[in-house]
Amino acid sequence: MSDLPPYPPLDPSNYDLIVVGTGVSESVSAAAASSSGSSVLHLDPNPFYGSHFAALSLPDLTSFLHSNSVSPPPSSPPIPPSNSHELISVDLVHRSLYSSVEISSFDSEILEEHSRRFNVDLCGPRVVFCADESINLMLKSGANNYVEFKSIEASFVGDSSGELRNVPDSRAAIFKSKSLTLLEKNLLMKFFKLVQSQLAKSDDDTTTVKISEEDMESPFVDFLTKMRLPPNIKSIILYAIAMLDYDQDNMETCRHLLKTKEGIDRLALYIKSMGRFSNALGALIYPIYGQGELPQAFCRRAAVKGCVYVLRMPITALLLDKETGGYKGVRLASGQEIFSQKLILDPCINVGLESLSSLTDQQNETLRVLVPKAMINKEKIARGICVIRGSVKSDVSNALIVYPPKSLFPEQLTAIRVLQLGSGLAVCPADMHVLYFSTLCKNDDQGIKALLSAMGNLIRLPVPESDSVVENVTCEAKPLLLWRALYVQELVKGEFGGVISSMPSPDENLNYKETVESAVKLYEQIMGSEELFKEETSLENTTEENEGGVEIDEN
């Protein structure tokens, strides 16, 4: 970063809000603040938009993962707390989110030839649910004008046999399903109808309460059993529709036992997503050119509303008032000092522990959210990216595959999700597909092992391993692996700290629901604003919303 071209000094040097990092949460905040009339400076140390939500070419992705996986050495000799004015400066350190990064290329020639035609997500697998809060927010803010979507054509449930079965998630899908028995079809459709009638139940209509309060508070998995749903259907509902991670049948390892109420909410999101846009094929859509388009769309919206953007600009230190200990501003890598009322930071930005000792209590209080928390028994998410030749399922390009807990191997504690995307989404060259894998894990080894197992189920390694001779026959049909990345990402929650707030890292979910909801909540705390993008809703977007809102390409 030392050979960055020198930046001209920023003018003005005083803002209502400085946002560092261009991830989804930061970008939503920047757009919301700008549109409510605040002056905003939005910085990002990287040369691209999106931070941990970016979509990158293969070389860029490789270098980003590597540079974020080990703590970089202190960038420059620590500048002594400057006593020039009434300010004290506190150095910032970079926290790395990624570990166990391993990137392997099996066909460098081809990949190099096409390397710039890839738009590979850092936070995959991730899709947008049509009824997702992120879509609402895009419509509200007008960010929808900058993104186009396509449908995920199909979703499957897989197991160790290698067979992929369609997820019967709609009336037509249940009708067509070949893997369900007639009675299962009957039970599943009845269950969907029950959920639908539960949803349709308006507050003033007390006559049609279908699910009792007691049931609503009971574990969802027990409720499904009570509805006489057989294990295979329960598993489809829990992991491929409600998109749960933990094995709901295993009390010891399940860190999040879902209540029926939450389960119904999750199904509701799915069902509403199915019916929201008539030109969408199902519940799930994906932005053309990758996930990076979403934060970028909010950034563009912010820019239209007057937000100032500077990329390739890390901040090196925070400036605090010597006497009160309150936040004043930041020092940029260029050396310039910029002042603001409030500050929103990327989850990677921390305060070095060594610099804390010399600070007063008030100063420490200001920096509270930037102090790294002790990571005890904290879950992580293992992610994998594969570039393959061919497709895991013929006739289908964009598809979601879920391996419920225990479906691949007995010790599999969490569901593994796989998202295959094709060239139609402009994420890779034609005849190739990009596959994203993810699973929650307690430690890196456990996560990587689970991902490799799912990969082995779907993909053929180019060099046949010596001990896999037996599988040769079935291997032939599987697509060939060209490139692979494996990494484990820490899950960092966002934190509201009054003046300085820290945003969350990409979460473990398949969609943006929680990311966006927490961003909205955090923003409202920070800015004290009642509603995001309030003014936008009134005029310019109403017509678009009536017509279906977002652009979904049908081919």
Partner: protein
């Protein structure tokens, strides 16, 4: 309608806009009419009509004008311009359809254009249809799922393009996979399959086709058990399974091997013989043929009588109930007898072809039956006493009797083809629907399937009758489950119950008695059974005395088949009018009729049975007698009962009083007992 939202009340500015639109339309209309009358077919004039059509696709005159214009222009046009003229027409239609996808005129015009030889663009037509059929807007979807215009036009185009029926079948599959509530697609599927099966197309043999379709439609039924589209298709399939190629079956009276005694006029001497006694006053007795399907062509040339009885060569076979009708289930001929010694009578049918069922089934295998007639010429006292429905009944063991009727399959040859797999198919279906125990439709369907299986196994003494208990229970459950359709279930319950009662001699015996007071004639007592409908008549042709009291009957429909009936008790039922008793006028032997304690003449003058009954009042209108209009229905029933001696109509809603009594006596001069009172002669 069909889930369409009601539009909000219009605002004043909208009213103004629509008024302006109306004005414009009127102006267009008058211009167009003047063009039309003056036969102006210029470009501008045609343009004008196109504009009119775009606004109002229902303007028939405008479509006709366009046809004239096209004809006119085609005559004078360069052959190279023909296509462009016709293309223009298709375009106008398309614009009109944008306004209304269900416009008769527009679709008809499109057909007309195609018939003008515009065949180059037929593929485009199918594409257009596919586009319409895939409209995804919710409102339009409803317009498409229930749009017979689209499907009719599709069939028309398909015929022109010679698209294979297999391809069209695939199209219905695609449409159904997309949304299986597409009734039109299911219907088209049934049309296509019928044709493919009839042609014996490759891969469409009935057995495989029906199995495949059952498996397919199960998906719809099990996925959403209250969606009607699938059920309609299912019932069609079931029909194909049960009915296809089913041979004609018949039941005669007197039955094969039976003995009957003909007794003289008024002879009630209490014979204790096992034989059926038939009291004949006119020197003849009826010969009855009951078919399970309506047939035509029953005559002295198709049914031959072989006996020593003279003057029966040219028997007149009459269909019941309608003399003028050509098809009927029940045919009657009157056999004259002139002997005193026992006579064997052999009746043969099918020797010469001619008896054809309404479904086209031709009776080709000869069938014959023989019975013996004994004459009892002791002249007894003519019966004058009142007949009681409460006493005088002796139980009768009919086990050894050969008088009981049974359906006989006439065409033995055809029985074997496909019968086994059909039975098997029904068995599989029964197994499937036992899995849907809580569903209303599941129960109803199971009951229907069990009934179908009963019909199929009715020849097999070992297993027949096994399902009735379950069927009756299912209908009882349904009545409780779905009170909206209570009456329908009750009717089906009655049918099943009657089939159960008549399924074996043993069960029928429990209801059979001989009446001491009536020359020991056979009496069938079906009282107190909650019957709401009469069925299984083919098994009951021999019955002369029938007690149906204390049931829930609304009508006497069907009883006309029981030509031997002389005593009938319909008291304590739910009959509302004489028109509901209309079928009784065909029972010429009726001497005793009890319709007391019904609701005849009840206050609701709208009598729906009048429209349901097959009787035609216009025919029976030539009365020649002045009948008060309020007694018209009464008159039409009673005037044909030439032998009625005892009539009971007490306890009905309105009819009472001296006036009515004297009217009845006038119409029925033979009457001796009215409402339990002996009439002064």
């Amino acid at each position: 309608m069909h889930g369409r939202k009601r539009n909000a009340a219009s605002k004043p500015e909208e009213d103004a806009a629509s008024a302006a639109e109306a004005l414009e339309l009127r102006l267009l209309q008058s211009q167009f009419m003047s063009n039309h009358h003056q036969k102006i077919y210029t470009k501008e004039a045609i343009q004008l009509s196109a504009k009119l059509q775009e606004i109002n696709p229902e303007a028939y005159t405008a479509w006709n004008y366009r046809k004239l214009a096209v004809e006119y222009n085609l005559d004078s046009a360069d052959p190279s311009l023909v296509n462009s003229i016709l293309d223009k027409e298709l375009e106008v239609v398309e614009n009109a359809l944008k306004r209304n996808l269900k416009s008769y005129g527009a679709w008809y015009h499109r057909k007309w254009v195609l018939s003008k030889g515009q065949c180059s663009s037929l593929d485009k037509e199918l594409q257009l249809l596919n586009k319409y059929q895939k409209l995804d807007d919710e409102i339009k979807k409803n317009l498409v799922l229930r749009n017979f215009h689209l499907w009719n036009y599709r069939r028309f185009v398909v015929e022109l393009t010679k698209t294979s029926e297999q391809d069209e079948l695939q199209h219905t599959t695609d449409m159904i996979n997309d949304n299986f509530s597409n009734y039109s697609a299911w219907h088209n599927r049934s049309v296509l399959l019928s044709s493919l099966v009839a042609k014996k197309a490759d891969g469409f043999m009935p057995k495989e086709t029906i199995r495949r379709e059952f498996d397919y439609v199960h998906n719809a039924i099990f996925t959403e058990e209250d969606d009607q589209s699938g059920w309609f298709y299912y019932l069609w399939l079931l029909d194909q399974t049960v009915k296809m190629e089913t041979p004609l079956r018949a039941s005669p009276w007197p039955s094969d091997g039976s003995n009957i005694i003909l007794s003289g006029p008024g002879c009630f001497n209490g014979s204790s013989s096992k034989f059926t006694t038939y009291c004949s006053e006119s020197g003849s007795f009826p010969l009855i043929l009951y078919f399970d399907q309506a047939v035509s062509g029953v005559s002295s040339s198709t049914v031959t009588i072989d006996s020593e009885l003279k003057s029966n060569e040219d028997l007149v076979w009459e269909p019941v109930p309608e003399k003028n009708s050509q098809v009927s289930c029940v045919w009657v001929a009157r056999l004259k007898f002139d002997r005193t010694e026992p006579v064997k009578v052999k009746v043969s049918l099918g020797k010469s072809r001619g008896i054809v069922s309404s479904t086209g089934c031709n009776l080709i295998t000869p069938y014959e039956f023989v019975f013996t007639v004994h004459i009892d010429d002791t002249v007894g006292e003519s019966q004058e006493g009142i007949i009681s429905w409460t006493d005088g009944f002796d139980s009768w063991d009919a086990q050894s009797s050969k008088d009981l009727n049974s359906l006989i399959t006439l065409d033995q040859l055809e029985v074997d083809t496909g019968f086994e797999w059909r039975k098997q198919a029904i068995k599989i279906e029964i197994e499937q629907f036992r899995k849907l125990p809580d569903s209303k439709f599941g129960k109803l369907n199971l009951a229907k399937l069990l009934m179908a299986e009963e019909t199929m196994i009715s020849d097999d003494d070992a297993v027949k009758g096994v399902h009735y208990k379950e069927i009756l229970q299912l209908y009882n459950d349904l009545m409780a489950l779905d009170s909206w359709h209570d009456q329908y279930y009750k009717d089906e319950h009655s049918v099943a119950l009657l089939r159960k009662v008549t399924s074996s001699t043993e069960s029928l015996t429990r209801h059979l008695f001989r009446n001491r007071n009536m020359n020991s004639i056979v009496c069938l007592r079906l009282n107190n059974l909650t019957l709401s409908r009469i069925a299984a008549l083919e098994k009951l042709l021999f019955v002369q005395m029938l007690d149906l009291s204390h049931n829930e009957l609304h009508s006497a429909e069907g009883l006309e088949a029981m030509q031997l009936l002389c005593c009938l008790n319909l008291s304590h039922n739910r009959i509302k009018s004489f028109s509901a008793l209309h079928s009784l006028r065909h029972l010429k032997q009726l001497r005793v009729l009890d319709v007391s304690h019904n609701h005849i003449g009840c206050k609701h003058p709208v009598d729906t049975t009048r429209y349901l009954c097959s009787s035609s009042f216009s025919n029976s209108g030539e009365t020649g007698r002045k009948v008060p209009s309020k007694y018209r229905d009464t008159y039409l029933v009673l005037r044909d009962l030439m032998k009625l001696k005892q009539f009971d109509i007490r306890g009905n809603d309105l009819i009472a009083g001296e006036e009515f009594s004297s009217f009845v006596r006038q119409v029925v001069p033979t009457l001796v007992w009215l409402d339990g009172n002996k009439l002064a002669s």
